[in-house]
Symmetry: C2
Subunit: 338 residues, 2 copies
Amino acid sequence: MKNEKQISIKEVAKMAGVSVATVSRVINNNGRFSEITRKKVMQVIKDSGYRLNMAAKSLREKKSKTIGVIVPYITNELFSEIVLGIEKFFFSIGYSVFICNTSQNPQKEMAYLRILDAKLVDGIICISGLPNIPTDVVRQDIPIVCIDRKPNFENGAYYVESDHYIGGVLATEELINSGAKKILLLTKDKSISVNQQRFDGYKAALKKHSIAFNAERIIRLPGTRSNFEEARDAINYTISKGIEFDGIFATNDWRAYGALTALLQNNIRVPQEVKLVGFDAISVSEYCYPAITTIFQDTKVLAEKAAELLYDLMRNHNKSNRPKHIIIPVSLIKRATT
Amino acid sequence: MKNEKQISIKEVAKMAGVSVATVSRVINNNGRFSEITRKKVMQVIKDSGYRLNMAAKSLREKKSKTIGVIVPYITNELFSEIVLGIEKFFFSIGYSVFICNTSQNPQKEMAYLRILDAKLVDGIICISGLPNIPTDVVRQDIPIVCIDRKPNFENGAYYVESDHYIGGVLATEELINSGAKKILLLTKDKSISVNQQRFDGYKAALKKHSIAFNAERIIRLPGTRSNFEEARDAINYTISKGIEFDGIFATNDWRAYGALTALLQNNIRVPQEVKLVGFDAISVSEYCYPAITTIFQDTKVLAEKAAELLYDLMRNHNKSNRPKHIIIPVSLIKRATT
């Protein structure tokens, strides 16, 4: 940053032999200009040391044309698909999207909310990894839309989620309708609402079909290793302990795949002896053998609805006529494990 | 942003009954302060409408404590693991990391480089999806480290990559040593250097073992659908055409898994009739059945080396005594398909 001349956009335009408006269009990558013009302008900018200073620009305009997305794990295919959908929506209307990965760490989530706030983004979409989203670090005038978690804002909470409860019902009923009566629930030992809702759906389906709830059949994985490994080992352990079961509802597909692997290792035929349903409909459920019946979460619609809602809030000063809570339907994808 | 009072940090400190230094520590989440102090300060900030304005701050200090990471697809496990490693390194030294997903789209890559530049990040790590990285959109004084692609900077290029050539040699020799002689290469129809290097390794290993190169055995996938699907369909087609082969080197693990699925669908025994080696060592290669022999790319070390190099360049004004090109060794993970 040393030896930097402070020259104006007018001087850049003059040197490049184009209008100020053209320089502005090139800098903002906005509107029409030829590749030759772009190269000429960029060369002048480079040679002259003119600095496109968006920080100064956003102070002036109070618009950064940037949004932030908070995500617990970009390595989770479900989340990364949602994030890509959001990115696609906003990029198409001229916005940049900064993705912030929190690894489900409260300090990171707080720090990222703070830095997004400070960098003057125009809006935030938050897929929180925490039971309580630390919203007090954000100014109240930046719109935030949450996915899968109800935020505890004082001035109202906008959030979008899949119908996890119905997903739990559909998964459990599919197992029952395929003949299963002793159904394991393979879930995570964490009090986040999505797992609780799926669990509630499981209980409701059992009740509807007059099957007694049995706490011994609820397996809560600690979440310290991968979903696949923990699920595989848990099912191996359940088999070795002699707990009887003829169906498994795994609350995500990696857990379902871990369970499937354990069943096959124990020469248990799927679906003849044990039926299996997963959740999310990520690639592994489709590509594994036998392919796993699962609950489809519509990541495309989730992303679109969240993005549209945020964009609406951004334009209408954080007050929208849209519903504050949008629930996206889920559906069953029947494959070879039921 | 309306009705916003402009008050100073001094006034915030006075209202919260703490020192200016404490307010600064809380705002920057830097140094020691109690949770009670944090809450008190944040409440005053909220009530008073004081705006922590990082844009103004970065103009003043010329340091944003932020870096940007450009990545073609966060949905690719190899890339997302590298990005998480970079994020971990920088977060631990007080930096925020903005991840920008380009979907291998030249316009997006250019736009993101430009917006990162304009937002005054202190450095950029670029995993480019393009043969030529559009570096002319970035000022020359922001250090950039590339991963897997040599950038065409005039003032010197810093980049870190796995030893793709040796990876190609190791994979092919493993197939040969397991008894394969007619080895398909399953790669992508794109002239990016990593695929070319793996291809060169394949050819070198054939030559070393006096096996004639046969262009009919090179399958180039178009890359318009998923790696899994294209590889599966290509192997099905190769079998139906009657092209003989007893080994497959797939240049990534999803392609290897697609090939494996096609082989099993055709009742071809693996590894008895056909041997298979993948590349990357992502989860699918470990968890599928039979587990796939593959080449391990050390994403942890790749991320660390790229991050360390960038941090060094950031502190030493874009001039480092470190080597400009770092090659990370790869290794073979022998599993059930060879």
